[in-house]
């Protein structure tokens, strides 16, 4: 009977554990997406700054 309780407890623990791992994989995928978006935003703002520089030069 005691063995039963222990097996049941282990089963519950493993179930939550695997839910955690699944959730963590989602988080990791989202993290890559965020890094990518930040990269694109930064590239955009670099481009814009370069444009501004060029315009300024052209105006001179």
């Amino acid at each position: 009977y005691l063995e039963d309780v222990k097996i049941q407890a282990r089963g519950q623990l493993q179930a939550v554990e695997s839910r955690y791992k699944a959730q963590k994989r989602i988080t990791q995928a989202f993290e890559l997406e965020i890094l990518d978006l930040y990269g694109r935003l930064e590239k955009d703002s670099l481009l814009r700054m370069r444009k501004l520089d060029e315009n300024a030069e052209a105006a001179e």
Binding site: K24, T27, E31, I34, L35, Y38
Partner: protein
Amino acid sequence: MKKWDDRLDIEKLCTFSQRFPLPSMYRILVWKVLLGIIPPHHESHVLVMIYRKEQYMDVYHALQVIRFISDSTPQVEVFLRMHQLEAGKLPRNPAFPLEAEDEVFLAIAKAMEEMVEDPIDCYWLVNCFVNQLHNKYKDSLQQLPKVLEQYLNLEDSRLLMHLKMCSTMSKLPYNLWFKKCFAGCLPESSLQRVWDKVISGSCKILVFVAVEILLTFKMKIMALNNAEKITQFLENIPQDNTDAIIGKRCLLKSWSHFQNLALGIVLSRL
């Protein structure tokens, strides 16, 4: 053969903490058990702390990814953001002004940071302590100003009269005393002894300490006759005196006396 009898008795721990200051070498362990950070079984402590550490790292890392914190963010602010994220209350932007409850969190975190060296332990203690104040004590904390008035009336009605005459009763530093549990107001050793009681199940200790402060500085308070001045003085009481307030005399003898009085007040309301 595994040992199964190595379980801490929560009830006994609470009774002990209500009556005595915890020995400092056991304090963090006992707080962690009482706040539910680790279970009462010694055997599970290592495993459960591994989970707690992983959770800490997960949340910490997430805040770095969304650029809410950086390496230069002060630890207490990191804790606040972690707490907000876990509660689903992270603001849209780190530049948003802080709410009143965030200030309470920061004050408690600052005080805890000085008592607890390990950042993971510290975060969990602050987080669970604040959650306990929000969940378990929410209603009682609102009652405390009223209880304070009743208790002060029993202890020193002249002082109460004076405070009422200057319309100070509604302006006492209740936020500092009751919401922040004296964080930033009492020196560390006193604060630990007060928090022993709060963590082990009694927020009435906060009224008791507040009244002791009022009684200790009675002469000074009687000499002031305006609410702003009194409040300002009470928010910045000289710290060298306060260790004595929370000293043995008060917490051992008068505290049980107070518990009886408080019980009387509660019973008389029924």
